[in-house]
Subunit: 347 residues, 4 copies
């Protein structure tokens, strides 16, 4: 009988699945017990993800919650929304703890979820689910059975704005997040729009005024502000694999300087293991967080009320699988940074 926590990764052959496998293989407290994939069932994980060859010869299996419940104590769901909700329900009923990386349990308001995504397949778990941003909800996460892992854009944007809204430092009106993402955020799939030839050497915006991460961001910012918050969120696709930079625009109630803002952010994030407030005026680079679980933030004040906060994450780590593992650490009482000590490889 194993003393390590037995892990199932459902949806192991997408990019967030890849990243979970990469990180979990070097986590000291866990072992991979089951990996699922609809398309690659029967193959070894290392045939699909050659980077782990020699260290992960597990055979991929079809997703069967009952079978998983016998092998695993804890599950990560890297599945499409809808499918995630159903699977989460089945695994929770079988006694597993679950971190769901899909959007299914992020939105507390069922109507908002169903307007944004689709008919919800396990609405009775919505109330129990905890939004898995440790910097805002650490204590709830520690006690949760079901954690809804935040989206990548929301992670970067909420961490940029929460200190301002929690401290009542900025107007609730006119908030803008102009975000730029690498291509891995689109997932692992055959799609002309994300082919190298289409993406390289160019940039475009997409989902202007309509991106599905907007309600998720607004929910959490509203919680931070204690009042309903609206935000204009504009994502862009840029020619790199990993990374999100969110450039957030707000208006301070008085003319905060960069020094004022820096002090405010340092207080807010004091003791946080994965949020780094950069030296005053230094803009974050996504290169410096790629592959790591860090979020680098840097608030800048014009002195006349205008405030820009820049935040950088790796969309697959702090924006997905690394944060999911951070949540597991909290849920299981492990050191919060276990398995997440790696740095960006620069350059």
């Amino acid at each position: 009988m194993s003393e390590k926590l037995r892990i199932a990764v459902c949806g192991a052959t997408g990019y967030t699945g890849f990243e979970l496998v990469r990180l979990l293989l070097n986590h000291p407290k866990v072992e991979l017990a089951a990996l699922t994939s609809q398309q690659s069932a029967g193959k070894k994980m290392s045939e699909v993800l050659r980077s782990v060859a020699g260290r992960c010869e597990i055979v991929l299996e079809k997703l069967d919650p009952k079978a998983l419940a016998k092998k695993a104590d804890f599950a990560f769901l890297a599945l499409p929304h809808g499918e995630a909700a159903e699977t989460a329900a089945a695994l929770l009923e079988a006694g597993l703890k679950v971190v769901d990386l899909s959007a299914d349990f992020r939105i507390h308001d069922l109507a908002v979820y169903e307007k944004t995504y689709e008919h919800h397949k396990a609405p009775n778990y919505l109330k129990e689910a905890v939004y898995g941003l440790p910097e805002l909800h650490r204590e709830k996460i520690k006690k949760a059975r079901l954690v809804a892992n935040p989206g990548c854009y929301p992670t970067a944007t909420i961490l940029a704005l929460a200190p301002l809204l929690k401290n009542g430092a900025v107007s609730h009106d006119g908030l803008i997040a102009d975000a730029k993402s690498g291509v891995s955020g689109a997932g692992r799939k055959a799609d002309l729009a994300f082919s190298f030839s289409e993406v390289e050497n160019g940039i475009k915006a997409y989902g202007v005024f309509t991106h599905r991460h907007t309600p998720e961001i607004e929910q959490e910012l509203s919680g931070a502000a204690g009042a309903p918050i609206k935000i204009t969120f504009t994502p862009h696709l840029i020619p790199m694999n990993r990374g999100i930079l969110s450039t957030v625009y707000a208006r301070a109630k008085n003319g905060l300087s960069t020094a004022d803002l820096s002090a405010l952010y340092r207080r807010f994030y004091e003791g946080e293991p994965f949020v780094r407030v950069l030296p005053e005026g230094v803009p974050p680079r996504t290169q410096d967080v790629a592959g790591s679980n860090y979020c680098d933030v840097s608030p800048i004040g014009a002195g006349d009320g205008r405030v820009i906060c820049l935040s950088a994450i790796d969309n697959l780590v702090k924006g997905a699988s690394g944060q999911a593992m951070q949540n597991m650490n909290l849920m299981m009482g492990y050191p919060e940074t276990a398995g997440l000590e790696g740095f960006a490889a620069v350059p």
Copy 2:
């Protein structure tokens, strides 16, 4: 005696110089008469820019306005600011027409120029110089001896906002331009910050609240609005060679729809050879303008007052050398599109 217009390119071995040579070599009305370079004088142009080998064996020479005045009728200045002003004065006095690609004559207000750049070396020409954005100042350009070619960020941003401000459609407050540029905008130089290893796979903002293109943008937007305009301008560096995307945020006085905006932009740019208003809701891609003199714009309205206008240019063509040649065409009475018929090579 030649019947073609004899051209001097001063500063032919930077990237805007390269681009002038590339474009001028295929212009039907002109011939290259002199190319200058401080560092590469004595070499053939084709040794520095191998892409034109076999078609441009001119030997680079040191910059000497008197010598140039004997060989050339028209000069493009792709020189550092300061040096450009001095050279422009000398060439104008010798009877040449000049398009200056530096910032030296873009800012009408001497005090603003000197605060933003440095002591001005030819202030007596400020009044005569015409800001070379044909879409706003075509008639003046036609009569000008000295044209100040716009900056790359200003070109993209002004073309995105001018229709709104000229039509009084948006509030003058809270304008934001979040711009993203390829690396060629930094010029041709040895600089660790722009080395491949530092730039690839990442994005960062720079010059937050302080970039020198801000006063230039504000001057032209103020002219368009007929009132003083301030804008928050945030440039970003992204891992591609060519292209600028400017994402401009404004607030309409009433809830303009995308259809309303599209109609407004189409009227404004009707007949313009190089501004393309995209179909409603289609976001521009820098890929589709790279290497060409086009500016693709696409305004999008949320319906609740929020307006985003996206504009894409090639920073070295419409944002520099192509626009400079467009200005030459206007100044000389040539067809405005002569030599600028090329399209982006996609992919």
Copy 3:
């Protein structure tokens, strides 16, 4: 009644089709009469290829040789092999001249074609078809009705080796071409293997000892040598859009120096408008030919018999659509460089 040559592009919405449209729109002697696309029929070309918006509002149509024969005098086939052969036959019978960019008529030996590709659908035209590499077969091309446009790798590799083999300067044994291609060579399609996330930041070889361009290269090298030639051809995929570099290894019968080789290549390519022999010892860069119809070659000798010849092309221009237009120019008696005067945009 038009005096321009009326052109049909069959398969206009792949990347070689895009490139034909880009180039033909600025060719002084031709007009686009019909563009076909199976998947996008009914759309305007400019909806699919936004870079030509405003200058190409032709509606895409399904491929119907009879309909095309009424509208067009000359056809480019940018179709999958097999489909190209059938279409070529129909169009030739209807009186059009044809440049086929597929592999269907490149291999003279039917058995070799059928082993390498598939059952040939128009073998009776094999004898008539001319291999469209102007540097080797210009006079035949001028008289041809049907030209088989060379493959991208073959173009780069044959131009690197032909001077050596034609002059009997190297051994016929042990020839190796280690070639590196940008991703656009894979075509415009949804395919995980060519998605940005899979290709960026990496390199791999593929088709080792088995790539289908090998027999085509060997056919032409055998013709140049006047004896059967075998070559080891290893293609690699690298993270850029356009460009092929072929690094060719040969063994000279005596210890040719770089100067000897350079002289030999200069003689061989004297007067060629699109092959540039670089200064001694200067290695070609694909950047310097991208977007243009040039092939830059540079032979280097170790002095002990070892010879390396490097050649660089744009796979979509000299390696496909530009060369196709060069062939059209020859077939129609136009200036060979008409419409192909453009240079690489550097950087």
Copy 4:
């Protein structure tokens, strides 16, 4: 008093220095005691390498062997050649063990070193130094005080060819290594040739017949073969940050199949923790080793005597700093894989 091994990294602000710091910070048996930098002395490491902010606040110091000898037990030299030799001598005399990442002690033959590089500054240590490729010299490394860490190209190329030469499976004549490297191999410096704008979107060869890694490769291959070996080595620069692919051409004495070769390589590398022989016929991708210490190799036989072996490494890890740490592990009796368990982050 610390029980951890106290480490000095000399030259911590180049890319191999960065990588040493990244890896050593997570090594369980060591602690960073001193970091040197000529240009950045006085700054904190985290100001130069922001990726380690919060975890490495050491202040950079000028290189002073006497001062280092008091603080450190073990030194890595990431210094220019020449400077490395002098520093190594001083540190060895002070009792430290040294892994030198420069070329200074790689070449056993002083005359060859001095012809290839420069006057040697510590030739009396040449005999003692061990070439630090564990797969060939593990037992000597374990006992060494001074290890010469292999070059990046040599690591990839020797690991590709050693099994063939050690087994007498291929001819000694006509060996070719056509290698492709990412840009980080050029180091951290301001140099126009390695600026983003010059490198992106292109490929070129360099150092044809003259690259300084050739004698190093030949020395080790000669050792493996037990006879003098010559090789033609052609490096290329490609637009990615990390990774080397070496495509090695050899001629087997009999017609080895891929299966034969695969078996031979598996026997040769059995038990090696960092060399992975891929499944038959699967070409390695540099993406799958980037950031990790793995070397993926894949030999392919044409069956007619022609053999190609492909090998992929991360030039900064297995090709430099990771292998240096692997050597430290061997020299100190630590588990060979300590601190090197990380995988490539894919994508």
